[in-house]
């Protein structure tokens, strides 16, 4: 569920999340009249001292749930139809080529973060990887590095912050992008800045920056990002899908940072 987001959007989202989170939607249970006690209550079923199952910090849950549902709709009505069009227009090998190019740019971001996390050996691997893909891999369209058994890492600034000891902060569901947390949302800013800078270098010519070319890039990058992810909102049909995704996403990020 990781879509590239332009910096402007991120800033907008951050302020939106913060503003609405404070005033936001209440998650408190409303009842008609006084609460009718159900058969099984937490007091009856959960012994004191037993840790609850999911303890993901989610103070903005009401807003997060609304955005989760918004994302589900946006996915169904906009993104997935667009991805179907993308798959129809580009044959499989073309999509793989596009994916490899974006991966090469991702690798540069990874490289920067590996340096910031003092992982010189892994940063070395990534350097060779990028070099191999840009040369043997015909400017990144072929993943020659994987064929050469070079490991591929994924590091972002959120992980770097985590490595430096910054806590995750509250769980956040970002519009269109999906599950994240406050730290990783902040981390998107430098990563996006770096990627945009690289793309601007590549896409600019004598006439300077080309908004059209960049729009094509962002569109392709978004389509590719969605194309990679098999997850479909509400395909579990469970009332607890939000909880499941939150638990899996938070655990996954924790493991990513520990790696």
């Amino acid at each position: 569920m990781n879509y590239p987001v332009r910096l402007k959007n991120i800033a907008l989202l951050c302020s939106l999340v913060l503003c609405l989170g404070l005033t936001g939607c209440s998650t408190k249970l409303k009842t008609d009249g006084p609460v009718e006690e159900p058969l099984f209550t937490p007091e009856r079923i959960i012994d004191p001292g037993v840790t609850p199952l999911s303890d993901v910090n989610d103070p903005w849950e009401g807003l997060n749930r609304r955005i989760y549902n918004f994302n589900a709709r946006a996915d169904r009505w906009v993104l997935l139809p667009a991805v179907r069009g993308y798959r129809f227009i580009f044959p499989s090998f073309a999509r793989t080529g596009i994916r490899n190019v974006f991966n090469t740019f991702r690798d540069v971001v990874t490289f920067a973060n590996q340096l910031l996390q003092f992982k010189p050996k892994q940063a070395g691997h990534t350097t060779v990887r990028v070099a191999a893909n840009l040369t043997f891999g015909l400017l990144g369209t072929i993943d020659a590095a994987t064929a050469m058994k070079l490991p591929q890492y994924q590091e972002d600034f959120g992980q770097t912050l985590g490595r430096w000891g910054v806590g995750t902060g509250p769980y956040v569901v970002l519009p269109l992008y999906g599950p994240s947390n406050l730290r990783d949302t902040v981390g998107l800013i430098p990563d996006t800045l770096l990627q945009n800078y690289l793309w601007d270098q590549l896409l600019s010519d004598d006439d300077g920056y080309s908004a059209e070319r960049n729009a094509v890039r962002v569109t392709l990058q978004t389509l590719d990002a969605r194309d990679r992810v098999a997850f479909q909102y509400h395909s579990t049909t469970s009332p607890f899908e939000y909880e499941l995704v939150r638990l899996l996403a938070a655990t996954k990020r924790q493991l990513d940072v520990e790696k």
């Binding site: 159900p38 840790t51 807003l63 395909s235 899908e241």
Partner: protein, 435 residues
């Protein structure tokens, strides 16, 4: 030393034979390699070469409008329609329905496996969700309280009629379907038996072949066995949260972007297939997997019927209401609590003289054994060591189905479903010609 140990274990896995000698023929020599039934249930077929090699099929999804009268609660807004998975042949052919197991959806891994197997031998195929799945309960469960097999069968029947009409809605497709088959695994197998019985009265489909794969004999007996497996978590039930958290960590670590998230047993089993936990944790893992299915079922049912099981009956749930507290409760209650505290009281309200035992006895294959004995188009594939059966329950199948029962010596619960020989036998049953 290590290598020696490993080859020793492998040899043991391959050559271990079931201890019990039976009165009826069991299929052996049988090449399915996993001897421990709990490990088999989690691992499945561990070696790719032993898995049936089926041609890929391009499945599509279509949706039917809900078949229930009630308004769908806002908090379950995404379950307004009934999805089904299908793939047609290019020419007229019989159509086979596949019914998913406990908590599983229309596109569950095992549904797709059975659909590919049937499509390969010339059937149109349709995959349906289990009546115990949250989506089905919401949009197609007439009472909202699943597990009452005759009622579940009626609900399924309605959906199957809807699917048939939907697939033949265009004039040129009218003659596309030449007959019907039916199959299901686990709880879906039990549902298949009840749907077949219903069809004998109604006659809409006149199934020519019905195959039950690893059905429970008694629903109550099987779910209480699954419920109890959780007790074998190391450290006991109080250690369940920590145990569950460790399972989630494994699932997260194994998660790839190219994976879907299914809220049934495949969520856990897939993450552990390559790297199963030690024997002391296996039963706990299986128990936990079914606990999450139970929690989805119970909560959905509670929301729809406003029963007041874990959610206050007068709660006003909307799209931003936190359900986390309810998930914590319902993952701790199991199928047995559901049975005694919600399911039984609900059905007793409609039939005051009903007793617990009576209701439980109705949810068995024993209750319809007369039909199963006489219906020569129904077969069953089961495993001698299936972990959802109580000791001795397996005897029912060869006794009632006679030659139409095939009992494999091992495989646990569905562990061998994708094994070459099982798929071949399955296809042979549906074509009548050895594959």
């Amino acid at each position: 030393m290590h290598r020696l140990l490993i080859s020793g274990v492998v040899a043991w896995l391959f050559f271990a034979l079931p201890a019990a000698a039976s009165d009826y023929p069991i299929v052996d020599p049988y090449g399915y390699p996993v001897a421990d039934p709990f490990a088999a249930t989690v691992v499945g077929v561990p070696v790719k070469q032993l898995r049936a090699d089926l041609p890929p099929v391009k499945f599509r999804t279509r949706y039917l409008p809900k078949t229930v009268e009630r308004e769908i609660p806002d908090v379950l807004w995404y379950n307004r329609r009934i999805p089904y998975l299908y793939a047609m042949q290019r020419k007229p052919a019989p159509l086979a329905f596949v019914i998913a197991g406990t908590g599983a959806g229309h596109n569950s891994t095992n549904n797709q496996l059975l659909m590919r197997a049937l499509h390969a031998v010339g059937y149109h195929v349709v995959g349906l969700a289990s009546p115990s799945q949250a989506g089905f309960i919401t949009a197609a469960g007439s009472t909202g309280v699943p597990g009452n097999l005759p009622i579940d069968a009626e609900d399924l029947y309605k959906v199957m009629q809807g699917v048939r009409d939907d697939l033949t809605r265009r004039k040129r497709d009218r003659d596309l379907i030449t007959g019907y088959g039916l199959t299901g695994y686990s709880l879906g197998a039990m549902h298949s038996a009840y749907v077949a019985k219903l069809d004998q009265e109604r006659g809409d489909f006149n199934f020519s072949k019905v195959m039950l794969i690893n059905p429970p004999l008694s629903l109550y007996s099987s779910v209480s066995r699954l419920d109890r497996m959780i007790e074998s978590v190391p450290g006991g039930i109080d250690n369940f949260p920590a145990f569950f958290q460790s399972l989630v960590a494994q699932v997260s670590a194994a998660y790839q972007e190219s994976d879907t998230v299914a809220f049934d047993e495949t969520l856990f089993f897939k993450a552990f297939a390559e790297n199963p936990p030690g024997p002391d944790r296996l039963a706990g893992l299986i128990g936990a997997a079914f606990r999450i299915s139970a929690s989805n079922l119970i909560a959905t049912s509670d929301i729809i019927t406003r029963f007041g099981f874990a959610i206050p009956a007068n709660a006003q749930l909307n799209r931003s209401t936190s359900l986390t507290a309810f998930s914590q409760i319902t993952v701790r209650t199991g199928f047995t609590d559901y049975y005694h505290e919600m399911y039984f009281p609900f059905y007793q309200r409609q039939e005051p003289s009903l007793t617990r035992e009576e209701l439980a006895e109705r949810q068995t294959l024993i209750a319809i054994q007369g039909f199963l004995r006489s219906a020569d188009y129904i077969g069953v594939h089961h495993n001698q060591d299936d972990v959802i059966l109580a000791p001795g329950e397996i005897e029912f199948f060869p006794e009632v189905f006679g030659e139409r029962a095939k009992i494999y010596p091992r495989g646990g619960h569905l562990g061998n479903i994708s094994y070459i020989e099982n798929i071949r036998d399955f296809q042979t049953f549906f074509t009548g010609v050895a594959q």
